[in-house]
Amino acid sequence: MSDSVDSAAVAAPVRTGQSGTVVRSTVVRRLLRNPMGIASLVILGSIALLAIFAPVLAPFEENFANITKTLAPADSVNILGTDSAGRDTWSRLLFGAQLTLLSALLCAGVAIAIGLPAGLIAGYYAGKFEAVSNWVVSILMSLPGLIVLLTIRAAFGPSVWISMVAFGVLISPSYFRLTRTAVQSVRNELYVDAARVSGLSDWSIIARHIFSVVRAPIIIQTAAIAGVAIAIQSGLEFLGLGDPTKATWGVMLSEGFKNVYLTPKLLLWPALAMALTIGGLVLLGNAIRDALEDGEKIKHRKKKVHAAEDAASASASKVARKTLAAVEAGTEHHLVKVTNLGVGYPQADGSIKKVVDDVSFHVDRGEILGIVGESGSGKSQTAFSILGLLPDNARIVGGAIQFDGNYTVAPGDERVNQARLSKLRGKRISYIPQEPMSNLDPAFTIGYQLVTPMVRVLGISKDEARKRALKLLTDVGIVNPERTFNAYPHEVSGGMAQRVLIAGAISCEPDLVIADEPTTALDVTVQADVLDLLRELQQRLNIGVILVTHNFGVVADLCDRVAVMQNGRLVEEGSVRDILRNPKEPYTQTLLASMLEGKTPMSMLVSSQKEPVA
């Protein structure tokens, strides 16, 4: 039973950044716009009202027994009938609601009172306190809730309040972990540093910056925990280990189960009450989570719609494939030609946000084209559309891409033609990613990750592939190829991992390599080596390269031609010499100036166009 709580702790989003009061009103509004949110609030609100006014609403005392009228069906006096002792079901249901809600509140309150401060301290100060509390948490988490409550019952006797305090203590780790993780992620944020530098005390930092971050996850967590507390408390009562003087849903359920052969209906009401209450809490938690993640949810929903459209367009494109248009005459010799390409993402309001708009360029064999632009300029999206590796929800909104004389995105296509590209990928078009470590599967050796694509794509034997892999590792400048071959990704350095990825990219002798910021994640000293390696391989193998970068230095060093992108559009394209010497567009000039003055290339640039993209 404690498992579902932990899952909630895992699933609950830990929001970083400042999601304070500014965000709160929109979250509440989203919650009220969500049918699930309203339904849960109405259900929980009515149950709470019924519980509060139980003494007024209940026609009988909770233990008033009319022994002349046992197991009676519903009538005008006992609107839901009576149990085996002649007690009124409706009255007991109301008093049960009171006890259930109070005990759930008590449990959550105790858990918050322990878990929240402990999590704040452990997350903010770390050190010994964190180590000790982690150990305590791991013990508490490993005990099944019901068994602990049985022990508490054996020690202290039957009491709803004692068992709920005990369960609160037992479940406090879920608040502890939630808070600690949130605090850890915020602790080193710049604005917290700034607050510290400006002389704010630790406590006011925690109160102002950190508490606002954990507030929403805690509400979600509380909904989950209240549900689990109700379930486990009622379970204890169902076993006959609760307080016999109190009317509770668990006792009522057990009473119904004892008389299941006579009046099975007695089971229905307490079970319904329980399911409605816990279900309301679960829905409330989900609705709050949705309200916090509204943007993401919309994407998912759109994806589903899109999947249906996709199936429709797939059958349409089957017809289209037969009559697949030939590429424009006179352009067949280009290795890659991108014509008026547009890429967009569907938005919540049904519109499409373009991240690449009307981009055209080409690359020939043996040529290196640099695509330059700041973050969000659409350069990576352009590269991924050539590879056919755009995210699922991306759409081609215009233009075409051709590779070696054939369309991979024909004019009018909404998506990349995966059937065509999966034959090209790995074999003729390959990819060098930006971040070396995250692009190797940590569970497999480097050797395996080099050998398998060669076996699959080239159809050679494993031994043959192994020989080639070792040769490739030597080619990319790895001194001890055997050792690297047998190593796992975590056992090599970032620079070496990037060499491995380059080796992987050229392993099947492609015609085109797309390198997405291949040196950004590396040390400056390693960067030059990797660039030299790229140039050397490109010249030796006579391959075409598209080098995506934000760094004009890299362009000047390596490229033949360069395309400058800004806000999804192509600003300027030409030979590196021309553009470096004589940039026509003001944006290119700014970009170059910013670099030549020795500033970091990533600094914010003045946009000459309105409507920034992404």
């Binding site: 068994i147 076993l239 280990l241 099975p264």
Partner: protein, 313 residues
């Protein structure tokens, strides 16, 4: 790897020691006059004093704990105060009943949750929607309430299954499986709905990892990426989910056994709790902690096998 296992085993023993000491202290300091409870109100003070001496309750707590610990290490967990049956014997006859049920349910949960969760993550669409809704419904209804309704509907009203499952394995495997079906179903429904949803999230998280895109760029097929790489990386998260469910199930099975009148740990624990039969309660807690430690150790070993980072260091 052996060092790793030894370390985990060592910390498991520490946990066992700490939990046993805490439970012992808790039980024996707060249960009021134990001898009076056993003998009833009619007993004279002399009889109570004699009983206390007999149970060793006149000794200081620390002495009693270490006496208990010494006995426990040699396999003697004491005897029930009410039936005089040795606790170790009761556990030995009841653990198999409970554990067969728990393991049958866990295996089925693992298979169903993994299949459904992966299908939802990969196919999305309606499968995903059903999984999401089922998770909410499963979270809303406690497992034992499902058990109560299964008995009422399928056993009592429709007569498809026996309402109580007191059939022993000697009655023949078919009859036994038949009698175990309902309790196992009652145990596994919440596990499947919750597990499927969590495995779904774990798989989606892995599918969005950078290396998956790179594998695609290398020309590796979708099927191979899913089965060889993604599922392997998602497995530790799935294992954690399943181990937490198993731990939770050790509690849930107590109620299920009570509902189906199964001669497992449940009725023993409930009776002992109601009577404050402390040696038996201690025995139940110890059995639980040992199962938890063994399960966690197995999960650690499996994770080590799946994750080279753990294996190598």
């Amino acid at each position: 790897m052996i060092k790793f296992i030894a370390k985990r085993l060592g910390s498991g023993l520490v946990v066992l020691f700490v939990v046993s000491a805490l439970t012992f202290t808790l039980l024996y300091t707060s249960s009021g006059s134990i001898a009076r409870n056993i003998l009833g109100d009619q007993a004279t003070p002399e009889q109570v004093a004699l009983k206390e001496q007999e149970l060793g309750l006149d000794q200081p707590l620390v002495v009693r704990y270490f006496a208990w610990l010494g006995d426990a290490l040699s396999g003697n967990l004491g005897a029930s105060w009410f039936t005089s049956e040795p606790v170790a014997n009761s556990l030995a006859t009841r653990i198999p009943v409970t554990m067969t049920m728990v393991f049958a349910a866990m295996i089925l949960i693992a298979i169903c949750a993994a299949l459904i969760g992966v299908a939802a993550a990969v196919k999305r669409g309606w499968v995903d929607r059903v999984v999401q809704v089922a998770a909410i419904v499963g979270d809303s209804i406690p497992g034992y309430v499902i058990g109560v309704f299964l008995v009422t509907l399928l056993a009592i009203q429709l007569g498809f299954f026996p309402a109580t499952s007191t059939i022993s394995p000697e009655a023949g495997p078919e009859a036994w499986v038949y009698s175990m079906t309902l309790p196992v179903i009652a145990l596994l429904i919440n596990g499947v709905t919750g597990g499927a949803q969590q495995i779904r999230s774990a798989v989606i998280k892995q599918l969005e990892r950078d290396y998956v895109r790179t594998l695609r760029s290398r020309g590796i097929g979708e099927r191979e990426i899913l089965f060889k790489h993604v599922l392997r990386s998602a497995a530790p998260a799935g294992l954690t989910v399943l181990s937490l469910q198993l731990i939770g199930m050790l509690g849930g099975v107590v109620i299920i056994e009570q509902i189906f009148a199964l001669p497992g740990m449940g009725p023993l624990a409930v009776t002992a709790t109601g009577q404050s039969d402390l040696p038996v309660v201690m025995g139940v807690v110890m059995y639980t902690v040992v199962v938890v430690i063994v399960v966690n150790l197995l999960v650690d070993i499996l994770n080590g096998w799946l994750n080279p980072k753990v294996r190598v260091s």
